[in-house]
């Protein structure tokens, strides 16, 4: 299987995502934002960084990069699309996921490890975890405060589209463990169709114990296992 990592001008976690895919032993390719060919990738990652300088609003300009048309079409046909941090902001600006990410409630850029709880393990991105698993994953953002209208947040919850929530080390959802003010401690959500995931924390930076945590490793493995299983089903 093959991972694809989109590079926008200003992306700076594209190499981390690339390295993460390599680390689990899979093929991976960069996709420059001016291109329109997804080169047969099975999953497309929109990485962290400051695409187009984050001018106007985070992700607002990246949405109009030529590759985004192909990416949206890919997702519409069921392709796996994974937005991390700035990539999550791009997904929201593109309307591929609902809501918006606004300035952190304390106005500070937050770069540190946080704990998130796995709320669903029946997704292509989290099938290697158990529900309730607590992952230590770093965040690095200033605009990570997930916002949506109250009714829409309720809808997300009712439809079970929240995949990760900020929690404390024990896995309790508390206001203190919410690093940015996100509604309902939301750290990551998935589309209705189940193939588009966006999250603020950086699993690609939590791939090896020597770097502080390898809790993100299973996320990349989950994606690989999901793709490999679908290939087997297609062949059968």
């Amino acid at each position: 299987m093959k991972f694809g990592v989109v590079t926008f001008p200003g992306s700076n976690c594209d190499y981390d995502a690339f390295a993460a895919a390599r680390l689990i032993g899979e093929e991976v390719e960069f996709l420059w934002h001016q291109e329109t060919d997804l080169k047969g990738c099975d999953v497309v990652i929109l990485p962290g960084g400051f695409a187009h300088g984050d001018y106007l609003r985070s992700g607002a300009i990246a949405r109009f990069s030529p590759i985004m048309k192909s990416v949206a079409g890919f997702a519409k046909n069921g392709g796996l699309l994974f937005g991390i941090c700035n990539g999550f902001q791009v997904l929201l600006e593109s309307g591929l996921l609902p809501g918006a990410l606004i300035r952190n409630r304390d106005l500070r850029f937050r770069g540190r490890d946080v704990y998130i709880r796995v709320e669903r393990n029946d997704t292509p991105f989290t099938n290697g975890y158990k529900i309730g698993d607590v992952l230590k994953i770093p965040i690095a953002h200033k605009d990570g405060n997930y916002y949506n209208f109250r009714g829409d947040v309720e809808r997300l919850k009712k439809k079970n589209l929240v995949v990760f929530r900020y929690c404390n080390r024990e896995g309790e959802i508390t206001d203190q463990s919410n690093p940015n003010g996100s509604a309902d401690n939301i750290a990551g959500i998935i589309s209705d169709s189940g193939n588009v995931l966006g999250m603020m924390p950086h699993p690609e930076r939590a791939m090896e114990k020597i770097l502080g945590s390898d809790d993100g490793y299973k996320m990349f493995e989950s994606v690989r296992d999901f793709i490999n299983r679908s290939v087997i089903i297609e062949k059968a």
Partner: protein
Amino acid sequence: MAGPMERMMSKNKATVFIRLKDGVLDPQGLTIERAIKNMGYDAVKSVRSGRFFELELGEDSDSKGKVTEICQKLLANPVIENFNVDFEE
């Protein structure tokens, strides 16, 4: 031929104001509000922050419609923001 001054005068201008919708948390506005209160002014009850853009327009007869489209697609995020446009000729 029109000189530079006349060219400037003949240009149409759109001024776009972007505002956060009611109820959307505005940490920047709140921080400024606190600062004003700390300065000792009690005349200001609350502050909301926003953004504005000046767009110079060409001769296109439908430039007004296009500015609205640009606001909807790019300058404002409809999930959290409203916009309005002032046109000057």
